[in-house]
């Protein structure tokens, strides 16, 4: 897992945003897009290029739920925790995913295929309960439908 991080991938981002004040969050978002998470080495480089202390960067990074500090699986399941989903039994869907994958919120399966993250409202309340897997949204979930989706993704990955 301990791959070396290619920091040159950050050059463009840093060139564009490092001189613009107030851009830390934007830089971190781009960094996460590149690496899938925020590697320590990248944070140290950002600190060097922006002059923002690592303690500040980590303060910002740990404040917002979007940021991660460890790699995620091939499929990132974002299960909506909105009110409408709650009222429409999203708890059952969470339990189903946990049972199916054997992971808790914030964890990744051993095969590195799935990561589970409970997220704030995705705004698709009419389709509740809802989850997003990578870019795709899945609505009106039932436990069976959820199992089917996971199964299909697992098969697609093999």
């Amino acid at each position: 897992m301990n791959k070396t991080i290619d920091l040159s991938l950050l050059d463009g981002v840093l060139q564009e945003y490092a001189p613009v004040k107030g851009s830390l969050i934007t830089i971190l978002q781009h960094t996460q897009d590149i690496y899938g998470y925020l590697p320590k080495e990248a944070i140290e480089l950002i600190a060097e290029k922006t002059g923002i202390a690592t303690s500040e960067i980590m303060g910002v990074g740990t404040f917002y739920t979007q940021f991660r500090f460890a790699p995620v699986g091939k499929y990132l399941i974002m299960l909506c925790q909105g009110t409408a989903c709650h009222v429409n039994s999203s708890e059952l869907i969470l339990q189903t995913i946990k049972d199916e994958l054997g992971i808790e919120d914030g964890q990744t399966t051993e095969d590195g295929l799935f990561s589970l993250k409970c997220v704030a409202c995705l705004g698709c309340c009419s389709l509740s309960p809802v989850m997003m897997i990578n870019e795709d949204t899945y609505g009106s979930l039932t436990p069976d439908k959820t199992k089917k989706i996971l199964k299909e993704l697992r098969e697609a990955a093999q």
Binding site: L24, I25, Q81, C121, G139
Partner: protein, 580 residues
């Protein structure tokens, strides 16, 4: 004929893009375009077919397999191909009973095309304001309209604009708060995805009014499509000189930026939003100074919500009086609600202020989708409260809603039936606010956590005498002592559920029962022998082998072994498994 596919996030999530691709693969020669959110989210994907006379055939719950049938209809004009997909007259009422101002273009025009917007009189209000009105006159029109902040607080928009206008400073900022964080609300997302130019136009008018040269939109990161369409719209408007230097040949110049949030509900609070815009942790600042004096980069700044801006162009074009003609004494114009939960027809509803909750939930929303009776509606999300069924005739008006203990809020309206535990609901919101608390002030950081722990104990059957009173004491103190709106309003869901559903709290605490049958620690699953057909499905699904019985004979649950996972309850096809 012309085909328009609803491609808001809801539509896409429901499969609208697959439908579009399938339609593109048919032999249809007619123009296929997209629009944003039509608002009838419960019927997505929706395909609108306009005939050459402008007549509309609306097809709902369309799937990709329907593509050929639609093609046949479009190519032949024979409606029988799509008869089963055509929207029912009842469902059509969902839209026809609404009055759409902020949403006027949503689901009508193509959000990715600026010409569609200008064809719908887009940017005429901006031109009017810049070329025919002084900033003071703009503010006056807004004052006459009675427009109030749609983000929740309902503060008069003209007053904020005026304060920012009066503020000294060569550099000012106009900021749009699109950090729609209320879990259960999606009005702002729909506006940006469906009519981004309307937002840009409203903001530019606002920027002109306060004297700002910079406009910034802070959009939450969970809305990638909204960000994409807004970026696209900004690019188009810039290309046409609507954003930039000397707009419409006047002295007015304004640039436009988008900043994506990174997941923090507290950033809906304006000073936290400013901190976040500056790249910091989204922790609220002390007020005073207010943003109008010292905001973004310590410069005078004005912040309004998306829906507020979405009304501005209409008001400038139609006059403040026209807007003020709708609504009540204290609440003017219309309000958009995201109606969801256990309601039959969920989606976006824009109605004039002064209608009742019943109008929205029953008349437009069609009532409950299950056979269980209406219990309460949650308004204003984690900052709001639950309004019980006997107050269903409450008028939609800032003051009237405030009097119930709930708030107008940003427009989230989550409908609940008798299967929803109100203590569980309070716990749900406290779990949310506790997780979203920025951690700066004591009352919110520790207070919301302690409230959550108390609610957890109560729903786990460990509640004790005095818990309700202790919760209330803590609630009032947090309202008084918290630093920002998030903390000050966090107790509302607890206070309103205690106010209207105290008996439910008492049942949890004293009788160790959950009347709604939702709190798993307090319920028991049993099998009704009369209804059980002995199909063995429950026994096969039970993860702990707690269900015994032979084929075609009634089964029995061993309550000692039962872990209350509810699997039997969900799998039983005969309703024989009951919760007590």
């Amino acid at each position: 004929m012309r085909i328009v596919i609803g491609q808001g996030s809801c539509g896409i999530a429901a499969g609208a893009e697959k439908v579009r691709k399938a339609l593109m693969n048919t032999n249809i020669t007619s123009d296929i375009s997209i629009t944003g959110c039509i608002g009838m989210c419960y019927l997505e994907p929706i395909v609108d077919i306009y005939d050459d006379n402008g007549g509309l055939t609306r097809l709902v719950k369309v799937s990709e397999t329907d593509a050929d049938a639609i093609a046949s209809y479009v190519n032949t004009g024979n409606k029988s191909f799509v008869e089963k997909l055509v929207v029912t007259p009842e469902d059509s009422e969902f839209l026809s009973k609404q009055t759409r101002i902020a949403l006027r273009n949503c689901g009508v025009i193509d959000p990715e095309n600026i010409d569609a917007y200008t064809d719908a009189d887009g940017y005429t209000a901006l031109k009017k304001a810049l070329t025919e009105m002084t900033p003071e006159e703009v503010i006056e029109v807004i004052k006459v309209s009675g427009l109030a902040g749609r983000g929740g607080a309902g503060f008069p928009t003209w007053f904020k604009w005026n304060a920012a206008r009066q503020s000294q400073g060569d550099e000012k900022y106009l900021i749009c708060n699109a950090d729609e964080g209320d879990p259960g609300a999606f009005m702002d997302r729909a506006v940006i995805e469906s009519d981004p130019h309307n937002l840009i136009e409203g903001m530019l008018i606002g920027a002109y009014a306060i004297g700002a040269k910079h406009a910034v939109v802070y959009v939450r990161a969970e809305y990638p499509l909204a960000i994409k369409r807004l970026k696209n719209a900004i690019r188009q408007a810039t290309e046409q000189g609507i954003i930039g230097e000397n707009i419409f040949g006047t002295d007015f110049s304004c640039d436009f930026t988008i900043k994506a949030g990174a997941g923090a509900f507290v950033c809906g609070e304006e000073t936290a939003l400013i901190e976040s815009l500056e790249g910091h942790r989204g922790m609220p600042r002390l007020k005073p100074p207010f943003p109008a004096q010292s905001g973004f980069w310590r410069k005078p700044s004005n912040i309004n919500n998306v829906e507020t801006f979405a009304n501005v162009a209409w008001i400038i074009n139609n006059g403040g009086e026209a807007f003020a003609a709708m609504g009540t004494e204290g609440s003017k114009g219309t309000k958009v609600f995201a109606v969801t939960g256990k309601v039959k027809r969920s989606g976006l509803v824009e109605i004039p202020m002064g209608k009742t909750l019943r109008d929205v939930i029953f008349d437009i929303g069609g009532g409950m989708k299950t056979d269980k009776p209406f219990k309460a509606v949650q308004m204003g999300g984690p900052s709001g409260g639950c309004i019980p069924s006997d107050l269903i005739d409450t008028v939609i008006d800032y003051k009237a809603l405030g009097a119930t203990g709930a708030i107008m809020g940003s427009g989230g309206m989550v409908v609940m039936d008798e299967s929803t535990c109100m203590v569980g609901m309070a716990k749900f919101f406290l779990d949310f606010t506790a997780k979203e608390s920025c951690g700066k002030c004591i009352h919110c950081r520790i207070g919301t956590k302690r409230m959550l722990e108390m609610l957890e104990r109560i729903t786990n059957g460990q509640g004790k005498e005095g818990d309700i009173e202790l919760l209330e004491e803590l609630c009032y103190s947090i309202k008084d002592g918290a630093l920002c709106g998030l903390g000050q309003t966090a107790p509302n869901p607890v206070l309103t559920t205690i106010k209207y559903f105290r008996d439910e709290y008492e049942a949890h605490i004293h009788d160790k029962k959950c009347p709604a049958g939702e709190c798993s620690a307090l319920i028991e699953y049993k099998i009704n022998a009369d209804k059980c057909k002995g199909c063995t499905l429950c026994a096969r699904n039970c993860p702990v082998g707690a269900i015994a019985g032979t084929v075609k004979n009634p089964h029995v649950i061993d309550t000692e072994k039962c872990i209350k996972c509810g699997k039997c309850y969900t799998v039983c096809k005969f309703g024989a498994v009951v919760k007590e």
